[in-house]
Amino acid sequence: MGESEAGGSGADERLDLEGWTCPLPLRDHDRIVLGHGGGGVLSGELIEHLFLPAFGEAAAAATPTDSAVLELGAVAGGGRLAFTTDSYVVQPLFFPGGDIGDLAVNGTVNDLAMSGAVPIALSTAFVLEEGLELDVLGRVATSMGRAATAAGVQLVTGDTKVVERGHGDGLYVTTAGVGLVPAGVDLRPERIRPGDAVIVSGPIGRHGVAVLSVREGLEFGTQLVSDTAPLNGVVAEMVRAAGPHLHALRDLTRGGLAASLTELAATAGVGISLTESAIPVPEEVRAACGFLGLDPIHVANEGTLVAFVAPEGVDDVLAAMAATDIGRHAVVVGQVRDERPGVVLARTTLGATRIIDRPLGEQLPRIC
């Protein structure tokens, strides 16, 4: 494990904190609230109004994506490197179908896969709370090793810090990953075109409901397990089958299908029309969401993606996905349109229309 303490004072000398005020225009929030980490509107505002202005010239101008694709230049033979990082703070550490370890590996593998990259290696950084049982850490680490092997990536470097008891939820994991983007592969929101089919790789909402069911001691009387899984395998098949007809991918994490689609519609400047009855929602997810007053399309996933595919590639992509374990229930749920850019509409089961909105922050169970 490498040591990563910030050394020297060079960086500090350039910072001018005199008179610096938080530019975040949040009327009621002068501190971080939970919703800032929810992957919704508040998270986006934090990036747009705080991080990017504060980072200044050092921030890349690119649109936000799951992973950055960096041109390596002539020195490295002109290839492209995908690079991403993510932190995992899930409670509880172990939940039906997975744990924080395989989540941390699969999440980063998936962020790389969404740019079409072949994941190569991951770093692992741990923030451990004083008092954490070694047995727990061992189980998490074993799970990470198993997940990395399954995804075909190496765990190559890392870091360990311990904080005092009471200063953490037992265990936080940060993973960063690098991958190589094959020549000819170009998956970006900007490539989404009117007419593209919107394909979901499988049933939605399983991770969020599985975690809720154990975190809050809710008994749904269900065996629902998280969908946590590496998606690089199914992505490789999709790329092979569709070639340039595959325009963009996004894995459905926090904020669920709604957050991903609203963000992509805005970035790509297109409208999206969904057919609500086509969206695969397991009965257990539907029932739990009904009970809690949540909408399944806002609930988190960890091994499910949405793909934007030109009409001429749809059959090939669906066939390639159907041959994989993860994509065997893949289905077209909607279409990209050129009207009402930035707006996601859903045709309801009763034949009416509603707007799909981006969640604000944390999903809040309803009172009754």
């Binding site: 949040l26 009327r27 009621d28 929030h29 501190r31 971080i32 609230v33 939970l34 919703g35 509107v41 508040l42 809050e216 001691g217 809710l218 009855s277 009965e283 539907r286 029932a287 009904g290 809690l292 007053g293 909408d295 009207e339 009402r340 707006v343 309801t348 089961t349 009763l350 034949g351 009416a352 229309t353 509603r354 707007i355 909105d357 604000l360 944390e362 999903q363 809040l364 169970p365 309803r366 009172i367 009754c368």
Partner: protein, 370 residues
Amino acid sequence: MKYLDEFGDPDRARRLVAEIHAATTRPWSVMEVCGGQTHAILRHGIDQLLPAEIELVHGPGCPVCVTPLEMIDRALLIAARPEVTFCSFGDMLRVPGSAGDLFTVKAAGGDVRVVYSPLDAVAIAEAEPDREVVFFGVGFETTAPANAMAVVQAHDRGLANFSVLASHVLVPPAIEALMASGTSRVDGFLAAGHVCTVMGTHQYAPLAARYRVPIVVTGFEPLDVLDGIRRCVVQLEAGRAEVENAYPRAVTAEGNQPAQEVLASVFEVCDRPWRGIGTIPASGWRLRAEYADHDAERRFDVGAFVVEEPAACRAGEVLQGLIKPDECEAFGATCTPRTPLGATMVSSEGACAAYFRYRRSGSPAALRGG
């Protein structure tokens, strides 16, 4: 699971819609009393399917929306106390008080926890005897029995560190107040099925008779709501004004007797201010004197309040069915779910939030057209 499929069946929905169209000959205003029904209507686009003559107006039945500002402020002050663990249902955390919300208190170091049942808060009080555990008991007749049960359990177990900040409100007095105001344009009501599951339907009969309005007890699935509207329209067209139970799978005339008994043992009826509406006589529940030790309002005397609602907010008129959310000048402009002026925009059951979420860039007619 069967219910969910059965009560969202598009073919049956189409038949109900056709029956409503066939039955309607004149304009009618139908108020859905409960926020859960408002969300079902907008989420499934039910209003887009109705004849143009039928106007759905939204009622005061969102427990989060009608909780008075001074009660939110009281909650914020109690939650901020260092010895207090403040437990609440999730959607109360984002409701703005005069300064900030419970999320703000939590971010500033307050021990604010989301629970899914008041009994969870009792369990916390038992597990953490050094903490003062306060549960924010908000809601209509639907949530009140569980809160009453929590008080009884805490009392029986001798948990002196458990108390409830009770802000319960009752539906029939609110309907009475709306109809007696003289400004109501409501021709018929869809009464909230959950409330009637507890309290029964019998208490609505005098209202239907006195104000000559049909009151149809209605559930929350799309077909429930459509059937409720159909029955209401059929009554209106026939000149009838009766209480009708369109939710018999959950509701009886007598309601849930054990729940009513525990309610009567723990609570007594009191006058209660409703946010945006004002004080409605005999419209709330407070803890009886014998449970005073578990009454957070008495336990934590945080003083009297003078509160002021934002002048631009017309939530009160929305709650009384006098205007639609998008008729408010602030709607979608200065008032959004992120910067709500009133609770109708922040609560997931609020009519303004439902309009913003499902409908903000188009009227039902515009959405019908594409």
